[in-house]
Amino acid sequence: MGESLIILAEGANQATVVNELEQTLLRVFILIIMFGLGAGLTPKDFSLAVRRPWGLIIGWVTQFGIMPFVAYILIVTVLFQFSPPQEVGLIALGALIMGSVPAGTTSNLFTYFSKGNLALSLTMTVNSTLWAFVMTPLVLFFYANLLDLGESVAIEFSELAIVILGLIVPVGLGMLVRRFSANAGAVLELVGGVFGVLFIPFLIAIWVPRNWQLLLSTEWPTYAVAIGLGLVGIFAAYGIARLIRLHPMNARTIALETGIQNGPLAIAVIVAVFIDNPRVDEILLIPALYSLFIVIISTLVTLWFRRANVAEEQKIPNLL
């Protein structure tokens, strides 16, 4: 945790899009969110997950297979169609990072509201968060090369891995707290959940007004990618889950889990790794837009999901 804080704090003075106060708040947010995530877990959850790995495998595939791929497709078919890759390379990088980070805790909340499988959602969030240490840099490296972004943007992938690792440490600490005090664990879990939700209003209140001009001057393909990433992700995962005949409840869970990425984490990672880049605001553009729109998208999707015949489904044994 200490390590990540140091890395996150480096070069903060150059930030224009995210100022120092916001960075501090962001760090606190992430810390609390991750802490809360861990506080809801026991080692038993992992052994259970390993014993019935199908949900996790599917989640893993959708998280690190589909989402980055969707980001890549959107970049190629939308973003690069209207501007030369050299100009929007950094925006594309932001989109790729957004597609490669693990699932966010907000997905647990929406899963709850859409009467999905909360236990599965939680395990998937944790699973992808832990895997992110390896998978996010790997996936990013692969697509950045494919898009030829690697040369225009020097990414220290090992640095990226360390940042993510630093963010995972609070998960372990949360588990530890839970181990010693169920009460502290439960309170942290609740607070973490609240902060996960508060992140969006926080973004709207602080970031949007100051970057109003930037938002106005942003071209529609960027918006399309930011919105499309979540939307296409959700429906692609839902389609696959239904195709392999998963229980609708689990399909809903996997859909939301896949489409809803960890926005705060993406932003924190970018701030930590690219803060020295004078054009860091361009990289942050899609993660910020994504984080704003995903709430609207998830709400609409949840409303749609809720129309499903839930009473009948509750009785389907949970195969995952």
Partner: protein, 574 residues
Amino acid sequence: MTQRPWLDHYPAGIDPVLAETTLAHVPALVRRASAEYAKTLAFTQVMANGMNGSLKYRDVDAHSDSFAAYLREVVGLKQGDRVAVQMPNALAYPIVAFGVMKAGLVLVNTNPLYTPSEMIHQFKDSGAKALVVIDMFADRLPEVLRETDIGTVVTVRISEFFPPIVAGVIRLVQKWWSKTLPRITVEHTSFRSALSAGEKHRTVAQVDAYLDGVGPDSLAALQYTGGTTGVSKGAMLSHGNLVANTLQLLQMNGEYITPGKETALTALPLYHIFAFTVNLLGFYHVGARNILIPSPRPPSNLKRAFENYKITWTTGVNTLFNALLNERWFAESPPKHLKASAAGGMALHESVANKWREVTGTPIVEGYGLTESSPVLSFNPLGGMFKDGSIGIPVPSTEIACVDEKGKEVAVGEPGELIAKGPQIMQGYWQQPDETKNTVKDGWLYTGDIAQMDSDGYFTIVDRKKDMILVSGFNVYPNDVEEQIAAVPGVLEVGVIGIADEKSGEAVRAYVVASVPAPSAESITAHCRQYLSGYKVPQSIVFVDELPKSPIGKILRRELRDSAAASSSSTKGA
């Protein structure tokens, strides 16, 4: 009565006669355990998210003294006055229940989910002078109180005795998120201020003086029952009844309980007689730590309790055990420290019992009793031979017989009405001499259950007398049919009743809650044909989303009959 073959089947070292006790009343039992296990944790209340609070034995003793002093000194109640208590499982419950009894008052347990009219009936009938109620349900009081003699209302929070920050968070969630804290418009005292008011007046000697003249024959509780048959009646349970029953069931399972070392899961509501005697009194007496679950539904609410505590004992009903077995987290990671489980309240299905043993690797035994018998009459001896599907042998100092319509004992293996005699049989129904005369004759409690005894002296409940279905003159016991249907893969729950039929008088109908894909009605019928005589096979099978259940999860056949009758008359009308 001449036949007592069960006497040969008590496990070695267990006396079939209840040992003499010096405990004259429930407060003496509480006092003794509180002194012996003073520093041990007595109760831990666990919320669904893992938030919890605990009380040690000495805290329970001291706080219940304070509450007794409050009721006598501040409220001014007199020995024998009734106090209604209406709350889910929470840390305040033992304080209030023990406090009421220490004050020499009579406890009237009340289901918190009662409708105002049910509350009015119970409060008026018992003549309760004070009410201790959970704040979440206090909004119904204005219409209830004006019909009753209740002069004092004490409101309890679900988070009583929790660490302050945790209690605050729970309060915030209740207020702003779940919106479960209605405005209370009647005059009331908070539990906290009642306790501190009582504390000012409290000395142990003085609290003990409240019990002057209270002995084994004094009334301890009015436990309302018969809601499933119509108007509910108050079973008069004496201090002697409750103490005897506590000791009876402990004597029966002695070797599976290590005093001061057990952790018992209390998921059934304490206002119900099963958990009241078995968990609250029984496990308290042996210095166990009771894990109180305010709301066991959905069963995932129990996950944190199983994760965070080394549960060694569970008590429950068929529905609860079945629900747990259907939870993935439970079935795949069963509690490691569990020693044994006791089932009661309703028939434990063999399929559930077997699966429970298979999954947990520990024994589960079924017992039997009624509110009118405090409640335990029989149990399968854990340390001896236990028979599935049987309610076991009578607990020490208890006699059970099966009799015919004339009250004559039937032959071994023949069905007859189960009657029982022992120190746990109630004194009668409160202010209902006629009902009492019909139910308790010569000290024998007529249970209304049809049972049979085998040659070992083990009893098996065939069914409730009034649930029996008469198909063309043949007796069909719903339990038989339910047991078979429950064994069909994909059937989660089943309730069987008789419905009026022009040809056969009554016809068997099964209500089934199934998983998806649901088994077809044909496959259920085919299964029944294989194992049941033709007249027992259901004529109709109705798939439903859920079955009506009592507070402890017993399937209410009466409600199924009512709704079947209502829908058939409405179809006729249409």
